[in-house]
């Protein structure tokens, strides 16, 4: 490990978000340690996805700052910003594959942008990434429109991992997948996280996913982080939201299911 990777991958400092007149976040502080899988949970409209989008610079907070790998995202020259951006990958909720490009070209896209010119090298790398997400070479020439929902997520994950990022951000990784596929996808993410030593931040509603993946949980409620701790500790926190979210009968069943998958 060199010095750069030891820095905190994501740090939010005094972050506040405002949409029009309403404050979504108020003075949020959060530091995600290296190698952790952090789940952001919270009710609808608590700005989980907003927070994720602020981390990657798609949205700007009204106040406060986001630090990636110890530096502000928009600090330094263009080349430095680009180098920073290549250290993380994001999996969007709908996959966000480029619909004009086939699967191969989608996964090869970040590599080509990075400057990998050697076509045989590129071919092997893309096939390797596809194999990592358990897809065979036969899907490589298909267009995104010809893929099922689960395959789209896998290809999008392969694309997010193309440049060997240290940080992976997942927006609702299992939304829209059936229970069987979503369990498979969770297993896949978990295996990749372990194999590649990734730091993962995910937003999810799905308690199965949460229990199976997250090493730490950040609970968002009323514009602030209510708690940031491993799941077992979260369960002991006395709070009406946590009570409703984690202790209902359905939640308990889902959490038990998720734990059994680990």
């Amino acid at each position: 490990m060199n010095a750069a990777t030891n820095k905190v991958p994501v740090e939010l400092k005094g972050l506040s978000t405002r949409f029009g007149a309403t404050w979504v976040h108020r003075n949020i502080d959060l530091a995600v340690p290296v190698g952790e899988v952090v789940a952001l949970v919270g009710g609808s409209g608590t700005g989980k996805t907003t927070l994720l989008r602020q981390m990657v610079g798609l949205l700007q907070p009204a106040e406060g700052e986001v630090r990636l790998f110890g530096e502000p995202l928009f600090a330094g020259s263009r080349a430095e910003q680009l180098a920073r951006r290549r250290r993380f990958g994001m999996l969007f909720q709908q996959g966000a594959l480029f619909s004009a490009l086939n699967v191969f070209a989608n996964v090869a896209f970040p590599l080509r942008e990075f400057g990998v010119r050697d076509e045989t090298m590129l071919r092997d790398l893309v096939l390797l990434k596809l194999a990592m997400v358990e897809l065979g070479p036969e899907v490589a020439l298909r267009m995104p429109a010809e893929l099922s929902g689960g395959m789209i997520k896998r290809v999008a994950l392969a694309r997010a991992l193309a440049l060997e990022p240290e940080l992976l951000l997942l927006d609702e990784p299992t939304a829209g997948l059936d229970p069987d596929r979503s369990a498979g996808f969770v297993r896949l993410i978990r295996a990749l996280q372990k194999a590649l030593g990734l730091t993962v931040i995910l937003v999810t509603h799905d308690l199965d996913t949460l229990a199976a993946l997250a090493t730490r949980v950040a609970v968002l409620s009323e514009g602030r982080i209510l708690a940031f701790a491993p799941l077992d500790e979260i369960m002991t926190v006395q709070d009406p939201f946590i009570e409703r979210f984690f202790h209902s009968e359905r939640s308990q069943a889902a959490l038990a299911r998720g734990r059994s998958e680990v």
């Binding site: 090298m121 070479p137 060997e164």
Partner: protein
């Protein structure tokens, strides 16, 4: 061979060619020591793997942590991309055939669209409460009222240019007064409707196709169908009716502004007074031309809206199809307008032309 340091994409890629050459030179070495490697990603591993001829060398010192990277490569084996068959002469024939069949399918869909619209119109005549009046008025505002500024601007400029160029020629022959005939006849009968149609096809036709297309992508059209609301009644008909009604008015507006532009230019260049121009206009241009111009406007509006909706409903749920259909919509509607304009020219050749 003893390797050390970072073997990652960001470190290796800038010197990829150089490193590969060195690795190839060393590829025969039986013993490899990777104990000193601090970081190794799949790019670095792949470089080594290829130098080794896709198998592990006989003597390999590999730290535990790097084991998995090479296992993944070994699992990949000799996987290669499926090969697309080469292009043959028969494929060209098949391609041509597909194009023709595609055209036939287009015509088929267009006929279905027309038929469905007619059936829905009959239904609406019997069930008056189902008329989508709100949508019609909203569409009318969008394609008619909001198109007025751009139509006026373009019309005015074309009027000025036409008048300016004609005046230069006419003055050489001392035939100044014919500027009224040229502008009046040319703009009211021909240029006005075609010009406005091209503008509207680019402006409103493309918007209609894109709107229907995005509704297709976001499954809004399916939602409508599920609720038992006909897409033809709620989406297509208001657009078609609105554009058919708005186009004659836009044509009138565009032609008027163009003639005004010509009048201003004639006033500046030929010292022709506005009074004279306006008095001479009805004598030079029989009223039939105005009717032809407005009728053309209505027909062109109908065609543009139908073509736009036809392509909009063909959009498949992906962005590529959306852009292809929007392009096709604009190109087709402009082509159709010019073709139909030629038909108009032949059919009305005996009407409204003063000097024959």
């Amino acid at each position: 061979m003893v390797l050390s340091g970072d073997w990652t994409l960001s470190v290796l890629n800038p010197r990829c060619v150089d490193i590969r050459r060195q690795l190839e030179a060393a590829s025969g070495a039986p013993a490899w020591d990777l104990a000193g490697v601090s970081r190794l990603d799949s790019f670095g591993a792949l470089l080594l793997w290829r130098a080794w001829g896709r198998r592990r060398p006989p003597q390999l010192v590999l730290p535990e942590a790097l084991e998995s990277v090479f296992n993944r490569l070994a699992d990949l084996g000799d996987a290669s991309l499926p090969v697309e068959p080469p292009y043959r002469f028969l494929d060209a024939t098949a391609h041509l055939g597909r194009l023709l069949l595609g055209l036939v399918r287009h015509l088929g869909h267009f006929v279905v669209l027309l038929g469905q619209l007619l059936l829905d119109l009959l239904y609406l005549l019997r069930n008056r409460e189902h008329w989508p009046l709100h949508e019609m008025s909203a569409n009318f505002y969008k394609v008619g009222v909001k198109a007025m500024p751009v139509t006026a601007l373009v019309g005015f400029l074309i009027g000025v240019v036409m008048s300016y160029l004609s005046a230069l020629q006419l003055r050489a022959f001392g035939a100044d007064t014919f500027i009224v005939n040229i502008l009046g006849l040319g703009i009211i009968r021909e240029l006005g409707p075609v010009l406005v149609s091209v503008l509207v096809a680019g402006r409103s036709g493309s918007a209609m196709t894109a709107q229907l297309g995005v509704m297709r992508v976001t499954e809004e059209i399916d939602a409508l169908t599920t609720m038992g609301v006909s897409r033809y009644v709620r989406l297509v008909l208001p657009k078609v009716v609105a554009l058919t009604l708005a186009m004659p008015l836009l044509t009138l507006w565009g032609s008027s502004v163009a003639i005004f532009g010509g009048m201003v230019s004639a006033n500046v260049q030929l010292d022709m007074s506005f009074d004279y121009f306006l008095n001479a206009l009805p004598r030079a241009v029989p009223a039939a031309n105005l009717v032809i111009g407005l009728a053309k406007g209505a027909v062109f509006g109908l065609l543009i809206a139908l073509v736009a909706c036809h392509f909009g409903l063909r959009v498949k749920p992906n962005t590529e199809s959306l852009s292809a259909n929007t392009t096709a919509s604009v190109v087709t509607s402009i082509t159709v307008v010019i073709l139909v304009d030629a038909v108009f020219a032949i059919l009305t050749r005996t009407i409204g032309l003063p000097y024959r």
